[in-house]
């Protein structure tokens, strides 16, 4: 079961008290979490930590990280992540982002930090390719109760069955805060930033896009169009994974991250 959980460290970014995870040693992986909030107990994080220094902030408004009125969009959040990168003096970073975090990784990379070496986008949101205003890029999950969102997110984890009445209040509070922040940045425009299409040409770092073939939120056509929109991206299909490939197929995602970052480092 995937429950958001506490992260061990605290740092002030853009004036906001932020909790984060920073463990392991080796090449730096900056992991940007999905809409459900971060957890150090994720299998993907545990695997990557064996060979890499893994840094995972709880983004503003997620977990217990402070939010502010100047954070209204994923673009706004990307400046806080830039602060994190510079405050921790991270270099040669492999940025891995899942879903909302994948969108954030692209927003981040448009700011062209020389510290970012490559991106791995695990079923990223953030772009809209449809041109008919009456067609959505993604089904409107906000028409459903949050308990039902996992039907769109995961092909394997029975997240609908999460037993909120019996978890610690601290964990439930993290989930409720995370969902509110997800709505804040994802409500309108719905799960994308219209301005990003005019900025993605700046994402010149090597980029690997992972798409789970059971994804019920984004289609294969979407993932292909995404890969085409970025100047230096390729697409890899993760068999058996839903939108949260990191959750459904953590080993496959970890292998893809390690292979992509290793080959690029050796190149």
């Amino acid at each position: 079961m995937y429950y958001p959980a506490a992260l061990p460290k605290q740092i002030t970014l853009s004036g906001l008290e932020t909790e984060y995870f920073d463990e392991g040693s080796g090449p730096v992986v900056l992991y940007l979490h999905c809409s459900e909030g971060p957890s150090p107990e994720l299998a993907l994080i545990e695997t990557l930590t064996k060979t890499n220094r893994v840094i995972m902030p709880a983004l503003p408004g997620f977990g217990t990280s402070e939010k502010a009125s100047f954070i209204k969009t994923v673009d706004d959040i990307s400046y806080v992540v830039l602060d994190l990168i510079e405050t921790l003096d991270l270099t040669d970073i492999t940025v891995v982002g899942s879903s909302l975090g994948g969108w954030l990784a692209v927003e981040l990379a448009t700011k062209a930090s020389p510290r970012i070496a490559r991106l791995v986008l695990d079923n990223p949101l953030g772009l809209r390719f449809k041109t008919d205003p009456t067609e959505r890029e993604f089904p409107d999950i906000f028409q459903d109760l949050p308990a039902q969102w996992s039907g769109y997110f995961s092909a394997s984890e029975p997240m609908d069955g999460r037993d909120w009445p019996s978890v610690e209040r601290d964990i439930a509070l993290r989930a409720a805060r995370s969902r509110e922040m997800f709505i804040k940045v994802g409500w309108s425009p719905y799960l994308h930033n219209p301005k990003l299409a005019g900025r993605v040409h700046r994402v010149t770092v090597p980029t690997l896009i992972l798409w789970g073939d059971q994804d019920k939120l984004a289609t294969r056509e979407y993932a292909e169009a995404y890969a085409k929109a970025l100047p230096n991206a390729s697409l890899e299909v993760v068999a058996g994974a839903g939108h949260f490939a990191f959750l459904d197929k953590p080993d496959a995602v970890a292998s893809a991250v390690l292979a992509f970052s290793g080959s690029k480092q050796n190149a």
Binding site: S69, F142, Q143, D144, L145, P146, Q148, W164, P165, V167, R169, A172, L173, A175, A176, R177, R179, E180, M181, F182, I183, K184, W187, S188
Partner: protein
């Protein structure tokens, strides 16, 4: 106690044509525009009749809903300003959390106040959760928008030189309200407040707190208002700071009573026909409150409206439906008023679901003739000179 007549102005003939949700989902192809026009005119007739028998009137506003066709408080109030003579005109309320242009709200309310000669009661509300799906306003941060819109509307009505506004949510180069409202400094403000937490926000302002169909839980809400009001203002709140909305069906005979009760139950059944996700999307309520709801085991929460009452007698005791011959209706309202600790305004939800014009007409006439004089004795109105300062 004074009384405001109210109808949700539904397009009830569509309800049987669709199995799903009556808000959000029901396609408007099920609504016949000719029928809409006929019904809307009937609702205006009811309001006009309510004015003639001595009641005030109240309109509400919803969107994407077959349960309430009135999608603009001020459009309907503008008509009522012209066709009523004496009634106070309560809009409860304009959903300022979701309106991108609060100055438009101030302008339209001012028109209503001007045309009616100062009969407007100005309701400003947060709005139901499903309204966020109609307006597409962000569920998160709604109360911040609400308070800024409130401050801006009040500033527009009370400042008499042009000014600019550069707030967190709203940005105006030139605010200069023409016409000004007739009631100075501004028309009385009403908020809805169905919980002690809401009442505690309304009381410091001295505004009227209206509770809708909450049943006996209204006592805690009103007590929270009274307590907070006294702390903030140094004296007890007059009962005219509190209002309660309940369904009403006065009838002449048993057959009419049965028809009215059936319509009231049809309304109650319609309340549940809404997407669960639309009730309380993340961000609509404070995350701590949402956490408490998440952690409430299924079935352990509060029951539905009327506490799941299955009989008309239970609905009357629960303060949801006041029904029957006029004496009985007075007794029921008086008992509930006592339970609530006393309120100064009763909001008479006097047309429900498919209840036809003829039955509503009888109910309004009976209520006006027999109930109004009795209810006036329950909580006497203040002398006009002693009216609460609207800037309290």
């Amino acid at each position: 106690m004074d009384v405001y007549f109210f109808s949700e102005q539904s397009h009830y003939p569509a309800w049987g044509k669709f199995d799903g949700m009556l808000r959000g989902d029901i396609p408007n192809k099920h609504g016949d525009p000719t029928v809409s026009g006929k019904l809307l005119n009937e609702y205006l007739d009811m309001y006009q009749l309510a004015d003639q028998v001595g009641m005030n009137v109240m309109v509400n506003e919803h969107h994407i809903a077959s349960t309430c066709m009135n999608n603009s408080i001020t459009l309907t109030l503008a008509v009522l300003a012209r066709i009523t003579k004496n009634a106070r005109l309560l809009g409860l309320g304009s959903i300022i959390t979701n309106r991108p242009d609060p100055i438009r709200v101030a302008e339209e309310y001012s028109i209503v106040d001007a045309i009616s000669g100062g009969r407007l009661d100005m309701g400003l509300v947060k709005g139901a959760g499903w309204e966020l799906y109609a307006s597409n306003a962000n569920p998160s941060g709604g109360m911040d928008r609400f308070w800024e819109a409130h401050d801006l509307i009040l500033a527009a009505m009370t400042r008499h030189e042009p000014f600019s506004w550069e707030g967190e949510h709203f940005d105006y180069r030139c605010v200069n309200l023409w016409p000004r409202p007739v009631q100075q400094d501004h028309p009385p403000v009403w908020f809805t407040g169905n919980s002690p937490g809401s009442a505690k926000l309304t009381a410091p302002k001295g505004y009227v707190n209206a509770a809708f169909l909450t049943g006996p839980a209204v006592r805690q809400t009103f007590d929270a208002y009274r307590e907070t009001y006294e702390e903030c203002h140094g004296h007890k709140a007059h009962p005219d700071r509190l209002a309660y909305l309940g369904m009403v069906a006065c009838s002449r005979d048993k057959a009419q009573t049965e028809r009215n009760i059936e319509a009231a139950f049809a309304y109650l059944a319609s309340v549940a026909r809404m997407r669960p996700a639309h009730v309380n999307p993340p961000g609509y309520s404070h995350y701590q409150a949402i956490t408490s709801m998440m952690q409430t085991p299924p079935g352990a929460g509060p029951g539905g409206m009327g506490g799941g009452a299955t009989s008309a007698d239970d609905l009357a005791k629960a303060g949801i439906l006041f029904w029957g011959e006029p004496e009985r209706v007075v007794d029921q309202i008086a008992a509930f008023n006592e339970l609530a600790g006393g309120f100064g305004h009763f909001l008479n939800m006097g047309q429900n679901a498919h209840q036809p014009y003829e039955d509503v007409r009888d109910s309004i006439e009976l209520f006006g003739e027999f109930c109004l004089p009795e209810l006036a004795k329950l909580t006497p109105a203040r002398e006009p000179a002693a009216k609460e300062s609207v800037n309290a």
